[in-house]
Structure formats: C-alpha cells, structure tokens
C-alpha cells in the first residue's frame, strides 16, 4: 500500500482552495487594464503601492500587529507556564476558559465588545451608576487605535497560549530536575532550561498571532468605527468600492510577501517548531 495516497485528499483540497486562488491573485496583481480593457502584464500597481500613502497603511498594520503580538506574548507566556505546571489543580477548567471564546464567531465576539465598551455601553453606564462618572460623562474606549489593539489581543491570545502550552507540557521534567540538582536556582532554571526549550512554541505563537492580526479588517472596522484603516480595510474597499481587482490583488501580494519576510527573520522557526503547532 503506497503511503503517498494518504495525502491525496489534502493535495486535491489545497490545489483547489489554496494554489489556484493564489495563482489568480498573482495574475491579477501582476496585470493592469490596458487602454482597450484587456489585462496585460504590468508592475504599475506595485509602483502605486510603493508610495507614502499605502506604505504608511502597511506600516501601521504591521505596527499594530507587532504591538498586539508582544502584548499577547507577555500575557500568554506566563499563562501557558502556569497551565503546564504539574501541580495546577483546576487545569481543565482553566483550559476550558481559554478555549471557550473560540467556539464563538470572531465577528460576534467583537460586536459584543461594542455593547460593553460604547460611550453608552454597559461599562460606562455602570460607572455612571456608581458615581465614578458624571451624568453626561463617559470614558471613550472605542473609536481609536487602542480599541483595535485590544480587539486583536482579545481575539488572538489563545493562539499564543496554546502552542506555548503544548511545547511546555511535553517538556522533559528530568532535565529541569537535573538543572536543580546541579545547583541552578529557579531563575537560572528558567533562563537556561525552560525558556530555551519553549522557543519553538513561542515562534508558532508569534506566527499565529501576528499573521491574522496584520491581515484583519473586521476588528479594526468594528472597534474603531473605521477610524483606523488597516491594509485589510483598504484592500476590501479596493475590491468592493473601486472594483479594482488588480490593485487589490497587488496589495494582497505585497502583504503576503511582507508576512513571509517577517517570518523568515525568525531564526530557524521551521526546524524548531516541531510539535509547537497544535491547532
């Protein structure tokens, strides 16, 4: 029995739903409408992208995605460590709490934050009720960069915690015991043993947060009331308002290349992330 056959369904799947669409995007991205309306090869749209306006949008998207990734790492790493520790009592409950929001659609989750965070939302109403805020006052949580970053962190945090947790829970405790026996204090055990061993998980975590964050358009649109326009929003409008599939595809291509480059920067991420991906 030839084992190659096992992968046939997936190969067919990815041909139809990954490779072909990608080629279509590349085709549109590398062409432009000529005077007579037909498509011909052109780098004109790339030139158009590499102007301060669109580079600025790319920079902003990358910046917000990077900030969210760092926050996710700072919040997620300790959480993953606690989850993976042997003597945690209610591990399944904690795991449940992390995973449960992911059972709900991202749009619904994000819209529900509107109800909470609006100027007339539940949190502001509560603060007014207990007298922290005056009758006409409100704290403006939404409609800003901060709201977008918050939305990214909230939505993508599980994608940071889970890969790190998965690597850490498989860690060989005899190595840690050995380090302790050889006289390393807690800090040194972490610095020299636990942390280096968890790096593959961190790499997958970073990838799994940064990539959806830099490409999002729903979170920024909903939580900032379209005040913050990320590349995803600009691409969406290019297709829907401008009906300019060529420029829209060019922007998508640039974004893909940018993501690829930023992942390459991470040293040996491919090699070391074995077992890091659990979802």
């Amino acid at each position: 029995m030839n084992r190659r056959w096992y992968s046939a369904p997936y190969i067919v799947w990815s041909l139809i739903f990954v490779v072909v669409p990608l080629l279509v995007v590349a085709y549109y991205g590398l062409t432009a409408q000529s005077a007579d309306g037909s498509l011909e090869f052109s780098l004109e749209n790339f030139k158009r992208f590499f102007t301060p306006l669109y580079l600025g949008v790319l920079w902003r998207s990358a910046l917000y995605a990077a900030i969210s990734t760092v926050i996710c790492l700072l919040l997620g790493y300790p959480a993953a460590m606690i989850l993976a520790s042997k003597d945690l009592k209610h591990k399944s409950v904690m795991m449940f709490l992390i995973v449960i929001p992911m059972w709900m659609n991202l749009l619904l989750r994000t819209y529900s934050w509107l109800t909470l965070l609006e100027n007339q939302g539940l949190i502001n109403q509560f603060l007014r009720f207990i007298g922290v805020l005056g009758k006409e006052q409100s704290i403006q949580f939404l409609y800003s960069e901060g709201a977008v970053i918050f939305g990214m962190v909230y939505n993508f945090l599980p994608f940071m915690i889970l890969p790190i947790y998965s690597v850490m829970s498989k860690m060989d405790y005899s190595i840690i015991n050995a380090a302790e026996d050889l006289g390393a204090n807690k800090f040194n055990v972490f610095k020299k043993v636990t942390f280096p061993l968890s790096i593959p998980g961190i790499y997958s975590g970073i990838t799994m947060v940064f990539v959806p964050a830099i490409t999002t358009f729903a979170i920024s649109s909903i939580l900032s009331g379209n005040n913050v326009n990320l590349l995803g929003n600009v691409i969406e409008k290019q297709f829907l308002v401008g009906n300019d599939w060529n420029f829209g595809s060019t922007m998508s291509l640039v974004l893909m290349i940018f993501i690829l480059l930023s992942l390459v920067i991470m040293p040996d991420s491919e090699k070391e992330s074995q077992g890091g991906m659990i979802i």
Binding site: W5, L53, V57, Q140, N227, Q238, F239, V241
Partner: protein
C-alpha cells in the same frame, strides 16, 4: 488500496448529493429574487407564492457591489439594485428587456420615477422604492434648526457625529454642501471636498453604515448621515429623533427591479415585478421598510404619519435640486484614492 478509493468515491458522492440536491426543482416554477437586506414587507413573498403558485428563493445582499460580484457566478431571476448599479448592468449588457404585457401594474408607477437617466426608454427596469440621504438627529440634544450640512461641521458636537462608511455618499453630501455636483470629477472641487472632510475628521466619532441608526437611538451619537428608510425606522423607535434633508438638495436613490440575462424564469420574474406594484403590496413594503413608495395608488394607502412626513416624502422642489449618484469604476477609484488619503490622516 481499493478500500481507500471506494471511501474517497463515497465521500465525493456525498458531497455531490449535498451540492446538487437543492437544484433539482423545475426552474419554471421557481423565482430567484436577490434583494438588498431588510428591503421588503414581512409576508410579501408568501402572498406572492400563494397568489401565483411560484416558489420564491429569496436571498439578500449587503451592498450593490456584493450583488454585482455574486451575479457573475450565480443565476437569479430578479435583482433589485440601486440606480447606478442598474446603469452599470445595462451598460455591461447583463440584463434583458422586460415584456411590459406581463407587468400591467406598471401603470401605477409614479411618472417622477419613469425614464430615469439609467434607463431613459423604460426598457429594462421597473422602479421599486426610493430613498434620500439626510441627517438623522436627536432634537433633545441638537438645539439648532437642522436644515443644511453645516451642522455636521459644528464643533459643539465633536465626538457625537457619525458619517457613512460609504465613499460616494459621504463625498456626495460634502460636495453638495459646497454647492457642487455629487458626481463631479473636477480635481479642484474634489480637493475642496477633501479638505472639508479632513477638517471634519476630528469631530467624527465613526464612519459606519448599518449601525448609524442604532447609534443615534442609543444616544452614542447626536446626529448622523443615514438613508431615509433607516431614519423612518429610527423615528418610529424614539420620538425625539428627526430627519432632515439639506435645503440645497441631497443624494436620492431609486432602486429598480431588473431581470438578468442569465435568468431561468423570465415569466416568473415579470410576474414578481408586477406583484410588487399591486398598490396594497407597494404600500405594505413602504409602510414596513419606511422607504419611499413609487406607486401612486400605493402612496394613497399609506398611513398619514408616513406620507405626510416631509423627511420621508419631501417637497418636489428639494428633489429637483437633488441628484442620483452616477458611478463607474473610474470615478469610484478616483474618489476611493482620495478617501484613502483622508482615512490615512490621523
């Protein structure tokens, strides 16, 4: 090996049955209608099915652009897009001439809405409902009289104003404020509109579309640009809300019913179009959605509170100063580029 192949085949068979099981009904008994969301009276479809025996497959689109993309791959019998999109469908030869012998109720259609720019000979389209863009505001919070767009530039209301996340509408209303055409392609006029929108940007709480109504009702904002039907619904929910159309004119929009070339049931489609112009049905649609009735007999059946509301049914002279949006890719791309510049500034 054989086991796996047969498993695979079984799987494919399953998928095929799932995909095609929906399509085995006779197309001449089915009318596929593609309409904007929440844009029809509640049981109108059922009444149509009962009266004619056709089965309606009803789907909704979020925007004309979504519809345009979708019809390239899916066949429908009746589409109800907006004026500029009808224009485009006719120009691109995607719709077919109607047989008005099958649409006798066309005689009820208001002359005002006949022979529009997009279909001057009334060959391809029958008007459905119409609307304006205007300002929905809370009269308990906005004390000034609202009769033009300048109120939306008043910094007294900083952080309480919503604009539409719709490039052409927001630009159009700004151009109208400056006294220009909503369809201008003149660079200096567009530049002026751009500066105007940049000045306004710090005052704006958000650029949203479907949510404006709810945000004004909840008090999140005191005023916002909306389509008249949305305004009608909002006013019905909160009685301090008012809807005003700028004195120097606005954007108005007619949505029209057309039959795509790829339609599989043209007779059924025409029967549907005819049914929509039965006076009671036209009135029911307008009463429930608050969008403007294009049917003269239907209009008479509407409750006074609706037909006498000057926001929803403005005087003719305001309509004469108003314009429909005309659109093609070039003009939209031009506006979008400027829109991107405005949105990048913060």
């Amino acid at each position: 090996m054989r086991k796996i192949v047969s498993l695979l085949l079984a799987f494919m068979l399953l998928i095929c049955t799932l995909i095609f099981s929906g399509c085995n009904t006779d197309p001449s008994k089915v009318v596929r209608v593609f309409n904007a969301s929440e844009y029809i009276g509640e049981d109108v479809i059922k009444q149509f099915e009962k009266e004619t025996g056709y089965k309606v497959v009803y789907s909704e689109f979020a925007s004309n652009e979504d519809m345009y993309t979708k019809i390239k791959t899916t066949p429908y019998d009746v589409l109800i897009p907006s004026d500029y999109m009808v224009d485009r469908l006719i120009r691109e030869d995607l719709v077919q001439p109607l047989d008005f012998n099958n649409i006798p109720n066309y005689k009820y259609v208001d002359e005002t809405f006949k022979s529009p720019y997009y279909d001057p000979d009334n060959t391809y389209s029958v008007p459905y409902m119409w609307s304006t863009v205007g300002i929905l505001y809370d009269s308990a919070k906005v004390t000034e009289e609202v009769n033009d767009m300048s109120i939306m530039w008043n910094d007294k209301y900083k952080g309480k104003i919503f604009m539409l996340d719709s490039v052409r509408d927001t630009f159009g209303m700004t151009l109208k404020k400056l006294g220009y055409s909503v369809n201008t392609t003149d660079d200096t006029e567009l530049d002026e509109a751009k500066s105007e929108l940049l000045v306004q940007r710090p005052l704006i709480l958000g650029y949203v579309t479907d949510e404006v109504k709810d945000k004004i009702i909840s008090g999140e904002g005191y005023m916002g640009l909306v389509y008249s039907g949305e305004a009608g619904k909002a006013m019905a929910e909160k009685d301090t809300l008012r809807y005003a159309i700028p004195e120097n004119g606005t954007i108005y929009c007619v949505d029209a019913m057309v039959i795509p070339k790829k339609a599989q049931n043209k007779t059924g489609a025409e029967s549907f179009i005819n049914f929509m112009h039965k006076p009671e049905i036209a009135a029911q649609n307008s009463e429930e959605t608050y969008y403007g009735c294009t049917n003269t007999e239907g209009l008479k059946l509407l409750p006074d509170a609706i037909k006498n509301n000057k926001g929803l049914y403005p005087d003719v002279d305001i309509l004469e100063k108003s314009e429909m949006l005309k659109s093609d890719d070039k003009i939209n791309q031009k506006y979008l580029e400027i829109w991107n510049q405005i949105m990048a500034a913060n």
